[in-house]
């Protein structure tokens, strides 16, 4: 990386961190209960418990999930060489949700035999493991079936992802029928893509997984640049294409699996954020990947604050997944149309 590039990286990372700080501050200060920051810092209750005990961990959770999803989305777009690739659209989130669901239901079944064993299996780490495994398997399935004549066809992979999502939704509905009602309610809430109130240990497990997987992607970002040139070009420039791709698959899936285990299926973060950040910092993945992850964190914190505040008069809040889908669905279609237009213009 040369001097100007390094400066741009520092500026992009500083801006991303600033965005996170601003979003977390806004999320902590806005809410149904009027609280004072000064009172909270002075230890006055309930201000302190609300700000430090509730809003801050929730903002941290949203930031972790946004960080993971935007980072994974950027990497998947590089692999598929298509800006429409995204963990949710590609069915990676769906696979993770299925993996997590199976572990949760197994835990419910085990509880009937042995309460403590069921509780242990239903805790955060095993659910995260199931989600990561589900994400990895679905990524390999989608990218495997997206190959036609030995070549990865982005449109085919996207279509496989969409069909896989529908399949997973059906399987989860069937599995839900087998769960006891209170488990089914818990499952439904999780799957909707809601930033909830997780314990400190769950956040810690999630953070380790997310930072390791996005960190791995960060280390691979220079090679991602070469992969976007095409497999042959990358190989001729000395990249071990198969190994690199496998590692990127694995890390992006692990990040997605961790995000799903923490907050269910929050869609389109990996689509919206990398696209906007690409406009800001350009296509170099050494900049794009870390900047996307940081802005993804800020984006989801802000989206969660919006979800919390928008329906306040009704005394309820929608899951943040509904907000991101509300923004992301039209964005996806706009990107699709724009791609088609660029394609037409290139043809004429």
């Amino acid at each position: 990386m040369n001097g100007p590039q390094r400066t741009r990286l520092v500026v992009a990372l500083a801006l991303g961190l600033l965005a996170i700080v601003a979003a977390v501050a806004a999320s902590c200060l806005l809410g149904p209960q009027p609280v004072s920051l000064r009172a909270a810092l002075d230890g006055v209750e309930p201000d302190r418990a609300i700000l430090i005990g509730l809003r801050l961990p929730r903002a941290v959770l949203a930031a972790l999930v946004g960080f993971a999803l935007a980072g994974a989305g950027t990497a998947l777009q590089a692999l598929l060489r298509n800006p429409l690739a995204e963990p949710f659209v590609l069915g990676v989130s769906g696979g993770a949700a299925l993996g997590g669901t199976i572990v949760l239901l197994a835990a419910a079944g085990l509880s009937a035999v042995s309460g403590p064993a069921g509780a242990l299996l239903g805790a955060a780490p095993p659910v995260a493991f199931g989600a990561v495994l589900g994400a990895v398997l679905s990524t390999f399935l989608v990218f495997g079936l997206g190959r036609i004549g030995g070549r990865l066809v982005p449109e085919a992979a996207l279509l496989v992802g969409i069909v896989f999502n529908a399949f997973v939704a059906g399987v989860i509905t069937l599995l839900k029928m087998l769960a006891p009602p209170d488990q089914a309610a818990r499952l439904l809430y999780w799957l909707m893509g809601a930033i909830g109130y997780e314990s400190g240990s769950t956040l810690a497990v999630g953070a380790v997984l997310v930072f390791l997987s996005i960190g791995t992607l960060g280390l691979l970002s220079a090679r991602l640049n070469l992969l976007t040139l095409g497999d042959e070009e990358a190989a001729s420039l000395g990249v071990d294409v198969r190994r690199t791709r496998a590692l990127v698959f694995f890390a992006a899936s692990a990040a997605t699996g961790a995000a799903v285990a923490l907050a269910g299926m929050v869609g389109f973060v990996g689509l919206i954020v990398p696209h906007l950040v690409r406009r800001l910092v350009g296509p170099d993945h050494r900049l794009l990947l870390p900047a996307s992850a940081l802005f993804g964190a800020a984006f989801l914190v802000a989206a969660d604050a919006l979800a919390r505040l928008a329906f306040l008069p009704l005394g309820t809040e929608p899951p943040v997944g509904a907000v991101t889908a509300f923004l992301g669905g039209p964005f996806f279609l706009w990107l699709l149309r724009r791609q088609a237009r660029e394609h037409d213009e290139a043809a004429t």
């Binding site: 006891p180 488990q183 818990r186 809430y189 109130y197 314990s199 240990s201 380790v208």
Partner: protein, 311 residues
């Protein structure tokens, strides 16, 4: 090779994370035992001299406080709570999605919760933040026997154990009456409907199922699920003697949607006037009266049994 090694290291880390201890869930262990079998849990110590500022996270808990004359101590309820005594109280979110922030904002000294999987993570968060501020009483109401047991627990939390015990005795008395009256009635198969489109019924393990058995009836619904979405065909084939229509949100005339069930065609349908039979709490006393009336109905065309109240 480096990539393969990194992948392996990553997998090893995942496995080690899996074997990590379960963590903060231990603050609020949710028991599979009901309140009658000692399954209730206190987080923190009960407020000395009885709770004065109480948030209830379930309408049935509000009912207990109202029945014990403590409605004035309630400072917050869920938005699904329609008891007139708490119409002006602040709302703290829903039954399945209570807002910990709204609860904290009310500065309670006691939070009453009927253990339910949907609200578990929010209440666990409250439990983490409750230390030194307020207590949480988590009451699992799973079987009919837990209803009087919960009355005792709530009475003790209020500093009114005698009131709680008296309410428990009244609740137990209404259950004993239901059992006693069962002996004078022919055994009947009952289909208990709570939703018509889709058809949702009370199955084995549900609260109405247990009450029906106490009342000397057979539930027409088999299987293993408490609240199944039930195939209409199975409902027809089960050929119940009586259909109890507890779909309160839907107009009474809508039962004609189920006309394929012979009992509905014959008019052997008893509509419950309120949702009290589904609320496992003090309203059970009136609710059991409604159930008695419904079961005392004679089959269409037959002579009413002696002593049956007119409908």
């Amino acid at each position: 090779m480096r990539a393969a090694r990194a992948t392996l290291a990553f997998a090893a880390l995942l496995v080690s994370l899996v074997s990590a201890p379960a963590g903060a869930g231990d603050l609020l262990p949710v028991s599979a035992r009901g309140a009658a079998a000692g399954g209730a849990t206190w987080v923190g110590t009960p407020p000395p001299g009885g709770a004065k500022r109480i948030v209830t996270l379930a309408p049935s808990m509000t009912d207990y406080l109202v029945a014990l004359g403590a409605a004035g101590r309630i400072v917050g309820v869920t938005r699904v709570d329609h008891a007139p005594e708490v119409a002006d109280r602040p709302r703290v979110g829903g039954f399945l999605d209570p807002s910990p922030e709204a609860v904290l904002g009310l500065k309670p000294d006691l939070v009453l919760w009927v253990t339910d999987g949907g609200a578990l993570s929010a209440v666990r968060k409250l439990a983490e933040l409750s230390a030194g501020r307020f207590a949480i009483l988590a009451i699992p109401v799973i079987t009919v026997a837990d209803v009087p047991a919960a009355a005792k627990l709530v009475g003790e939390a209020l500093g009114d154990p005698a009131g709680g015990a008296a309410l428990a005795t009244r609740l137990q008395g209404s259950l004993d009456r239901l059992k006693a009256q069962a002996s004078g009635r022919p055994r009947r198969r009952v289909l208990f409907v709570v939703g018509r489109d889709p058809l949702v019924v009370a199955g084995p393990g549900s609260f109405p199922d247990e009450l029906l058995r106490l009342a000397g009836c057979d539930n027409a619904v088999g299987g293993s699920r408490a609240w199944p979405v039930y195939p209409l065909e199975l409902a027809v084939a089960s050929n119940p003697d009586l259909v109890i229509d507890a779909a309160f949100d839907e107009p009474a005339a809508g039962i004609s949607r189920l006309a394929a069930i012979p009992a509905v065609r014959r008019g052997d349908v008893a509509r419950l006037p309120r949702d009290d039979l589904l609320r496992a709490g003090p309203r059970m006393i009136e609710a059991l009266g409604d159930l008695e009336q419904a079961l005392a109905r004679s089959p269409a065309g037959a002579t009413p049994p002696a002593g049956a109240p007119p409908r």
